[in-house]
Subunit: 265 residues, 2 copies
């Protein structure tokens, strides 16, 4: 089964577009957890245990693990073995390099860790993305319009009457099928999300920035329409409460967000 | 001592602008080496042993190690412990994410691995780069003009009469001092390198693409002028000969390149 099909199945099964972002910040763990990588791992496995019955997608933010070097990568290995086979997994790794290097990164993400999808930076162009697209059964989410303040610096420059992020989406949309190539579009800019939806009506969008970053859920859902979207919540779920019995809180926060992000049958 | 000062000292000591790129491709190792991460590590340590007396800078391409997951990261840890203190080290990791994630990546590169410098993708703008720049003693090389074919896709779009890569250099040059912020500029485009040199006459440039990628040494040196430049050679040195007694070949190839890239006293 392709990863795209797995995504659709998982969203139908759970009736939600929610993605739980696993960005475990060692300074914000529940009582009883220390700052070591072992604690980060234990907490993340606890989050998965609490939420796996209701979640279609997990996104693992590599930064929060790489911080610990080899031990952090080892934690990602353990987490990937733990996540049930029918849950879609995104490596939020934002890689991208010349061809032979991107090939190694693609090996890492898809062969070594066995993720379903990866986030990629577009700055180096087609041949930096292609090695990831050679894994025909997997998915790539290209950064288009990011939710942070600095996203304006270069993405909002105008060339030939269009924003750079529009060029990124337009040009790259011919590099692979709509089922293989998706885009990262921040929830903080719903009007731009709508614009991107017009360029790529069928491609999946990965939408971070709900909650802590200030994105408005209703505007985002309206701007996206009925096409495939994965809506990521990280800090809004995994740091709802910093208390020892965190699993119930996280489960309840996940359920609330899941209901706010329904998939119609 | 700041990393910038360390760079200048190392180049003066060795009289060269050469950087040896450690991109060990498991399919191209000398006879007697297998495809396992242990062989990659052994080969890389062999390259360092053969070249450390004549080299001012090593650049470690993370892709070639991450391919092996945790064991690959562990190999980078071993390599960083092995490289002499007075040789400048670049993490060619091409990271870049929203602020709190970039902070974790900066921790990884500068605190965990203790690199002197890192390569960063500019697409997400100022707040994705800032956490790296908070390490005031370290250096950041921002991707400006890359040496690959796809580099044209978005870097060559024109906005307000200037190429996107010119906007990247111009705008970012105010984010930090010339001693802290450098740029990656491919050797395959010397005329564009000259243009970037005009915008940032004092910032260090990291120039890959000599040798295998077709960059012409003489044009590159002319375009750069006398300002600080680090000129990377990877495959041209570490895969000169694929034979068991590889260390002498690699030493001699390094010496040849070092002499072609002199630093005047």
């Amino acid at each position: 089964m392709t990863s795209h099909k797995k995504l659709i199945n998982a969203q139908k099964r759970t009736h939600t577009r929610l993605c739980v972002g696993l960005d475990p910040d060692s300074s914000k763990l529940p009582k009883g957890f220390g700052p070591a990588v072992e604690d980060i791992l234990k907490f993340t496995l606890g989050v998965i245990e609490a939420t796996e019955s209701v979640v279609p997608v997990y996104k693992i933010n590599f930064a929060f693990f790489e911080k610990f070097g080899a031990k952090g990568f080892s934690a990602i290995e353990t987490i990937m073995e733990r996540i049930p086979e029918n849950i879609f997994t995104i490596a939020d790794a934002k890689r991208g390099d010349i061809g032979n290097s991107s090939r190694m990164y693609a090996d890492m993400i898809f062969s070594h860790f066995n993720f379903d999808a990866v986030t990629i930076s577009p700055y180096m162009g087609s041949d930096s993305v292609e090695p990831f697209l050679e894994y025909k059964d997997k998915m790539v989410f290209l950064l288009a319009r990011t939710s942070n303040k600095g996203g304006d610096d270069f993405q909002s420059l105008i060339s030939d009457g269009k924003f750079i992020y529009e060029h990124v989406v337009e040009k790259s949309s011919s590099w692979a099928s709509a089922e293989q190539l998706g885009y990262v579009v921040g929830a903080t800019r719903p009007e731009e999300l709508a614009k991107i939806r017009k360029i790529v009506p069928a491609n999946a969008l990965l939408i971070p920035g709900i909650g802590t970053q200030g994105g408005d859920l209703e505007s985002v859902l309206k701007a996206n329409g009925s096409a495939t979207a994965i809506i990521n919540v990280s800090r809004g779920i995994i740091f709802t409460e910093v208390r020892e019995d965190y699993q119930e809180d996280i489960y309840l926060a996940t359920l609330s967000y899941a209901e706010l992000l329904p998939i119609e049958d």
